[in-house]
Structure formats: C-alpha cells, structure tokens
C-alpha cells in the first residue's frame, strides 16, 4: 500500500468515527477508537470519546458510578495511554 493511502487512513477513520457518532450505532465510534488507538498515537481518540459524551451523556447522580462517569471519554483515555507502550515497542 502506498504512503499516500496509508497517510489518509487515520483522518478517514476519524471522520468515520465522528460521522457515525451522529448517525449510526455507537459500536462504530467505539470500533474506530480501538482501531485508531492500536495503530496510532491518536489524539482523535480522546476527542471522539469526548464528543460522544458531550452529545449523548448527562451526568445523573442517582445512577451511581455509571451515571456520573463519561464512559466514552474514559474509554478514550484508557485506550490511548494503555496502548502507548505497545505502540512504542512495535509500531515505530
């Protein structure tokens, strides 16, 4: 695969993530976040997680821990930082 194609994968995935957060199933942005975090040190993962939560989530103190935790933001942070050693070791 050419460098040109490869260099467009990351922005294309990010756009797909944002688009599907508005129009399609929440599994698609989640899958996009996982794919991006595996392959790239992508800040887009964090922004996408934040975007999903700002759009769909409202903190609810009656719902316990699950009710006040912005799940996708937390997943984004965990994915980006937990996969960092793996990426440093194998992908650069």
């Amino acid at each position: 695969m050419s460098y040109l194609v490869l260099s467009k994968v990351r922005p294309a995935l990010a756009v797909l993530g944002f688009f599907s957060a508005v129009f399609f199933s929440p599994l698609i942005p989640l899958a996009v976040m996982i794919l991006l975090a595996f392959r790239y040190a992508a800040w887009e993962v964090l922004v996408l997680g934040l975007f999903v939560d700002l759009l769909w989530f409202t903190p609810d103190s009656t719902g316990g821990l699950f009710g006040v935790l912005p799940l996708f933001t937390c997943i984004g942070i965990v994915l980006v930082w937990s996969l960092e050693p793996l990426r440093s070791e194998f992908l650069t």
Partner: protein
C-alpha cells in the same frame, strides 16, 4: 541505536497526547462547572447537522435511485397489506375510543395535562446511553423530569424522560435505556423492568402471575401510563419465576414527533 529524529518524534507525539488529554479533562470540567454550556453547543450544532443529513438521506431514498423494479413491487405489496391491517386496527381503536369517552364522561375524569409537541432532532439509535434529542427546551416550558410520549397524552405511551434541558433542545433518556430500572405493572402484578436499550426491557415475575404476549405494561410512577407491551414470556419448569420481555409498541426509528408533558405529582 535509536536515531535522534525518531526519539524527537516520539517525544513530540507523547507531548501531543498529554496536551490532548489535559484539554479533554479541562473541557469535561468546564462543562460540568458551567452547567452544560459545552454540551449545549455540541448538541445544537449536531442537531443541525443531523437534520441536513437525514433530509439528504430521505431525499435519496425517496427518489428511488437505488431501488430495483422488483424491490419496489415487493414494497408496494407490503405497504398495501400494512394499510389493510392498519385500517382494521383503526376501526377497532375508534370503537374503543368511543367507549372510553363515554366512560370518562361517566366518571368525570379530568383532562390530561397540556404538553408540547416536539420534533426528534437526532438519531434515536446512535447514543450508547439510550438518549436522543428533541427540539423543545426551556423556552417551551420543558423541565427536567418531564415525560416524553409517543402519540397524544390521552392515548399515547411513554417512551422516555427529559434528563437535560437547554434553551431550545432537550436530551431524553429512553424509558428502557440500558441499565435503567423502572417499576411497572402487568395485569396488576408489580414487576421491576431493566432496560436493554432499543425500546426493550426485561424483568422477572412469579410464575403464578398470568402474563401473555400483547399484555399492556403500565408504570404507576408515571401516572399509570402505558410504557410497553409484553413481547415474549419464557419460563423454566424448575424456576419459580418467569422472564418477561417487554418492548415499546412502536419503532423508534419511525418516530418523528413526540409529546412532552409534565411529570405527574
């Protein structure tokens, strides 16, 4: 040995991630402290984008550009059958409505509370939290905790509850959102339903209680309003409980307007 270019590149990447993480945490904090200003902006912008997208999508679909002749014929047949079924159901409903009106006159029931009709301005299947946006907010008199119904306040059914209100938009949490529990009643028997998302819920009730497919499910905490119908019942002879699967009596994706009414005291 690692080249200095590679080392610098890694450090720069790490710095970018640290900055992004700090920014994300800051945005979440600012949003929480400001009472949802950032959320409001994101939702307003997204509802506009969704409106444009859904209009474009329906224009493409209704143009028939991607439909084959055979598919259109099948769809036509299907719609004709559906119309016939609906006509027969409407006839039955009109009769029930007439009877209900007479009964209401007899018992002198008070008319239901006045609410506002609001359009759905987001996808109803994109939220991981079982939420969606409606185009009515503070200026329309909507408050947190208001009940969201499909249909009218008289004959409709509850599909959600307002969980966040902006000036012109409200976020609605589905009545059967994932992990949400609601106390309900089927044929007078109490049952706790746990939401599964997509308008579905399930709960357990003693086997001694007679529950059939199609039975109405009401919520006493919502003024005894209809919240769903029994879709399936499964029981194990060795178990004292039977599992009841409940669904809302409509397809979320076909809903365009909802009715927002104050929560009963």
């Amino acid at each position: 040995m690692m080249s200095s270019y590679l080392r610098n590149e890694r450090q720069a990447t790490r710095r970018r991630l640290i900055v992004a993480t700090v920014v994300v945490v800051l945005v979440v904090t600012v949003d929480l402290l400001s009472g949802g200003i950032v959320r409001g902006f994101v939702r307003t912008t997204t509802s506009v984008v969704w409106g444009i997208g859904s209009r474009a999508m329906s224009a493409v679909v209704s143009s028939g550009f991607f439909s084959t002749r055979h598919a259109l014929q099948s769809e036509n047949q299907l719609l004709k059958r559906e119309v016939a079924q609906l006509q027969s159901r409407i006839a039955g409903l009109e009769k029930s409505e007439e009877e209900n009106a007479q009964l209401r006159d007899l018992v002198g029931m008070i008319q239901g509370p006045v609410g506002v009709t609001a359009p759905i301005v987001s996808s109803t299947r994109s939220s991981p939290y079982g939420t969606f946006l409606v185009g009515a907010g503070k200026v329309d008199g909507v408050v947190e905790g208001s009940i969201v119904m499909a249909g009218s306040s008289e004959r409709g059914f509850v599909i959600g509850e307002v969980s966040d209100v902006q000036e012109h938009l409200s976020l609605v949490t589905e009545i059967f959102a994932p992990a949400v529990e609601i106390e309900a009643s089927i044929n007078g028997a109490p049952i706790v339903l746990k939401g599964q998302g997509g308008g579905n819920a399930r709960g357990d009730t003693p086997r001694a209680v007679t529950v059939d497919v199609g039975d109405s499910v009401v919520a006493p905490s919502l003024g005894g309003r209809l919240i769903g119908v029994v879709g399936a019942v499964s029981s194990d002879p060795t178990d004292v409980y039977q599992r009841v699967y409940v669904r809302i009596p409509a397809n979320f994706s076909t809903l365009q307007f909802v009715y927002v009414v104050p929560r009963p005291q």
